[in-house]
């Protein structure tokens, strides 16, 4: 197969990892059988994260300015887009400051949406970015609550300097309803696990794998690694055996520390596989939902360079253990905590004002005064420097990728936030902009004047009255700062 290959790829898993023992402890009264799943931790979104913010974070990790300019298509794949009618890819594109003449595409309605987007991207020419993210809800006390995790993956495709190329693709479409989520529903509804294993995985996966291997003319023993749908370890081993693969070949499903992330999961695991692979290996990636998709990838000699880059990215959001189950429920909107009357404040977003300031709000673009050179946020008609104050057209300056630092802070137990206390203060960017902003992901005891920051795209406020949410950038501890 010729066409674009993988140029870069990055995963993003939220730092908060909810201890499954804590989930079990809260729900064992209702379902003691959950004990079998109560090992390890699952990832959970912070209150200010959703599929869009996770997608932006994964995407920015694998995009350099040089590559941004060449991008022609952006795919966003998720079963949990924050808006039913507002294209997620368009928000992600503006958060990444991609050119406006971009083809932005949303894919949804399938746990295979991530792989579908990948297949679409491979079929096109030129450079494209596939972003997939999911933050699926689960009923309290359900098995899914323990099995699911939140996360995102992004894959940059292009034809130069690829780290892995597409060898073959095989797809099966079959309306096998192992689980579903009705339109407008919050939760997934799943049929018996044993039936899914016997009539789903065991029936569909072998056909998929055989299909893709035949397509490529490759015998199963040539495979170095296999990404299979996330399944309990015992089931995964049995599946591998049935496919004629050794259990060691099967990529760990990350159920222990992340959970099944949904649409991004095959890509997330593929990134894991790439991180451990050698050049010139064949990797099988299979996703399961209403049939399935199987891909065969071959790694290239560029892989080790990417592996070094990718290893550094892990330090951007190191896991942070979380034991507060009610925090998870509250963040998920499943527990109406009493945050007092201040939480009643209307957060209606004036969309016309938003539109005037989209570049500043979504892209975190500041201005540079052409007279004195002062970088400032927001951009203004008159320079903020008291020794200048010149009126001029300020040059746009992207601030998101600049390192930042805390100039002043507080931890506010009075102001409303879904995750008290609200941490905020003045932040300085490397080029000298100063912004009063919220801080996120910072353990309370780590906050100090001088703390190094990395800016992250997050939810600024949720307007539950109208179902809207607005986004802006926040300061998070830079790598190395979140620990003593």
């Amino acid at each position: 197969m010729t066409g674009p290959g993988i140029v870069d790829a990055a995963a993003y898993v939220p730092a908060m990892r909810l201890d499954r023992q804590a989930i079990f402890a809260a729900n064992s009264w209702a379902n003691p059988a959950l004990k079998g799943l109560a090992r390890g931790a699952r990832s959970m979104c912070n209150w200010d994260e959703d599929s869009i913010t996770m997608g932006v974070e994964a995407a920015r990790r694998c995009l350099s300015d040089r590559l941004k300019e060449r991008l022609r298509r952006l795919y966003f794949a998720s079963t949990t887009p924050p808006f039913a009618d507002r294209q997620s890819a368009a928000v992600v594109g503006e958060a990444l400051n991609l050119a406006g003449n971009l083809a932005a595409v949303d894919l949804a309605n399938s746990r295979n949406a991530g792989l579908q987007a990948f297949c679409e991207a491979v079929r096109g020419s030129g450079s494209s970015l596939v972003v997939s993210a999911d933050a699926r809800l689960a009923k309290p006390g359900s098995a899914q609550e323990l099995q699911y995790g939140h996360g995102a993956a992004a894959v940059l495709l292009g034809s130069e300097e690829t780290i892995a190329d597409m060898v073959a693709e095989y797809r099966l479409s079959r309306d096998f309803v192992d689980q579903f989520r009705g339109s407008g529903e919050s939760f997934d509804y799943r049929w018996e696990e044993r039936w899914i294993r016997d009539r789903g995985y065991r029936a569909i996966l072998p056909a998929l794998v055989r299909g893709v291997l035949e397509q490529a003319g490759v015998p199963p023993e040539r495979l170095s690694r296999a990404v299979l749908p996330a399944a309990p370890p015992r089931m995964a081993a049995a599946l591998a055996k049935g496919l004629g693969l050794t259990a060691e070949l099967v990529q760990d499903g990350r159920l222990g520390d992340v959970g099944d992330t949904g649409a991004p999961h095959p890509l997330l695991l593929a990134i894991d596989a790439l991180a451990q692979a050698n050049p010139d290996e064949l990797i099988l990636v299979a996703g399961f939902a209403q049939g399935g998709i199987a891909l065969l990838l071959r790694t290239t000699g560029k892989l080790p360079e990417w592996q070094e880059r990718n290893a550094r990215r892990a330090a951007l959001s190191p896991p942070r253990p979380e034991r507060a189950y009610t925090k998870y429920l509250s963040f998920s909107g499943l527990l109406p905590m009493d945050f007092g009357m201040r939480a009643e404040a209307d957060t209606k977003t004036r969309l016309s004002a938003f539109d005037r300031h989209r570049a500043e709000l979504t892209g975190f673009i500041g201005g540079r005064c052409p007279v004195c050179g002062t970088v400032q946020f927001p951009r203004s008609a008159r320079c903020v420097n008291p020794d200048c104050n010149a009126e001029s057209e300020q040059e746009p300056v992207p601030l998101a990728e600049q390192p930042g630092e805390v100039s002043s802070f507080t931890q506010d137990w009075l102001a409303y936030t879904p995750h008290p206390p609200l941490q905020y203060g003045l932040a300085a960017t490397a080029e000298g902009a100063r912004v009063l902003m919220e801080f996120t992901e910072c353990p309370l005891e780590r906050m100090r004047v001088g703390l190094k920051l990395r800016f992250v795209f997050r939810i600024h406020a949720i307007d539950s009255q109208r179902g809207y949410r607005r986004y802006f950038w926040k300061g998070a501890p830079a790598p190395g700062e979140e620990r003593a």
Partner: protein
């Protein structure tokens, strides 16, 4: 000569009891304050030429415009104007009245500030919008959180240990509680021990409950005229306005690195301008007592430096040394301050002037200072990075 010094006399002042006034409406508070000022001045509502009404939260109390004042006092359809400039609102009302009288546009003017904050259903101040664009990116700040940042920057700038600053902040509140305890009109009338202040629940790091001022209902007012008219009215003892200045942020503190967050830029400017207008060269020596905007303990501490009552970086030590206690170098918040007298926003600037007025005329009862000649008030609206600061000086004009 430009400036306001001695051009206007205060002939009557009034102040309602501050506090949780579940018993009445804002209109009742206005009347309560006006009744006292009217008796003091010997002037009725019919004799006023113009009125300025200060009220900050229109939505939380009486609504917009000066209509609520005109209605409550049944003003004789005179020109009445509502002013709002955050926590400097009360002083802004006074500024309007004083300027009008000084300009000769009218002879007798009323400045009245009122606020009913205890009908919100919760403690602390309600949040307002910083503007329809700004609200889309600014954090959802609270007042304590905004001012708490002063502490973090002050500690970093002057290398002050967290414990030392916390102790100094506690002393600020301890002193105000002692003062407020003997003021019959004060909202909080209980002395509090230092340990209790230090160990109180955290509101916004490092400000605990006792580092924050009371949020109260209340009203205060002043009737002003020119000194010669005051004399015609038979006033022999007279308080005149020596200075009335205002400094407003233009965004440089919030948006430019030139400011390090450890002091109030506009506080310094307003202070310098007011002292110059009043002809005061050395605030520490010449000003006898002060009422500053102690919305939070750290605000008062930093303000001592901004206004020149303590050296830069030395405020925390001066506080601990008792420089601003009632028997110290410059008695501060002798009436209990915002901390204990209370903070009905629109009334606060006028309440401060009320205490200065009483002290200058020797009418402060149990809390009377020995023959003060010059007093200063200071209001700080908004937040350190984006503020409106007023400084006024009052003295004997007879």
């Amino acid at each position: 000569m430009a400036g306001i010094c001695d051009k206007v006399a205060i002939v009557g002042m009034g102040c309602s009891r501050f506090g949780e006034r579940w018993d009445c409406d804002a209109e009742d508070l206005m009347l309560e304050a006006f009744r006292e000022a009217s008796e003091d001045a010997g002037l009725g509502a019919d004799e006023l030429d113009a009125a300025w009404f200060g009220c900050y939260f229109d939505d939380a109390s009486v609504g917009k415009s000066a209509l609520p004042l005109a209605n409550a006092l049944r003003l004789k359809n005179i020109p009445a104007t509502r002013v709002e400039n955050m926590c400097a609102t009360g002083t802004e009302a006074l500024r309007g009245a004083v300027y009008a009288v000084a300009a000769g546009a009218c002879d007798i003017a009323l400045a009245l500030g009122a606020e009913k904050l205890k009908d919100t259903g919760y403690g602390g101040l309600p949040a307002g919008t910083p503007g329809i664009f700004t609200e889309q990116w600014r954090p959802n700040t609270s007042s304590p959180g905004s001012f708490a940042q002063l502490a973090s920057a002050y500690r970093a700038r002057h290398r002050v240990q967290e414990e030392d600053l916390k102790r100094a902040m506690a002393h600020v509140s301890w002193k105000s509680h002692r003062n407020g305890a003997i003021n019959p009109k004060a909202h909080l009338r209980k002395a509090v021990e230092l340990d209790a202040i230090i160990s109180a629940p955290m509101i916004a790091e490092p400000l605990g409950l006792f580092d924050c001022c009371g949020v109260s209902d209340g009203a205060a007012c002043a009737i002003v005229t020119r000194p010669e008219i005051a004399r015609e009215l038979g006033k022999t003892e007279m308080v005149t306005v020596k200075a009335l200045q205002l400094a407003v942020s233009n965004g440089s503190e919030a948006g430019h690195q030139g400011w390090d967050g450890s002091y109030i830029h506009c506080g310094r400017l307003a202070g310098q301008r007011a002292l110059a207008e009043a002809g005061v060269r050395n605030a520490k020596k010449e000003i006898d007592f002060i009422e500053v905007h102690d919305c939070f303990s750290i605000t008062e501490l930093v303000t001592m430096e901004d206004l020149g009552f303590a050296g830069e970086g030395e405020g925390w030590r001066a506080v601990l040394d008792g420089a601003f206690d009632r028997d110290g170098q410059t008695p501060c918040q002798i009436d209990g301050g915002l901390k204990c007298f209370g903070h009905p926003i629109g009334a606060s600037g006028l309440r401060m002037a009320y205490e200065i007025y009483l002290q200058l005329l020797g009418r402060a009862g149990e809390r009377q200072l020995p023959s003060p000649a010059l007093g200063l008030t200071h209001n700080l609206g908004g937040e350190p990075a984006r503020c409106v600061v007023s400084v006024a000086v009052f003295g004997r004009g007879d």
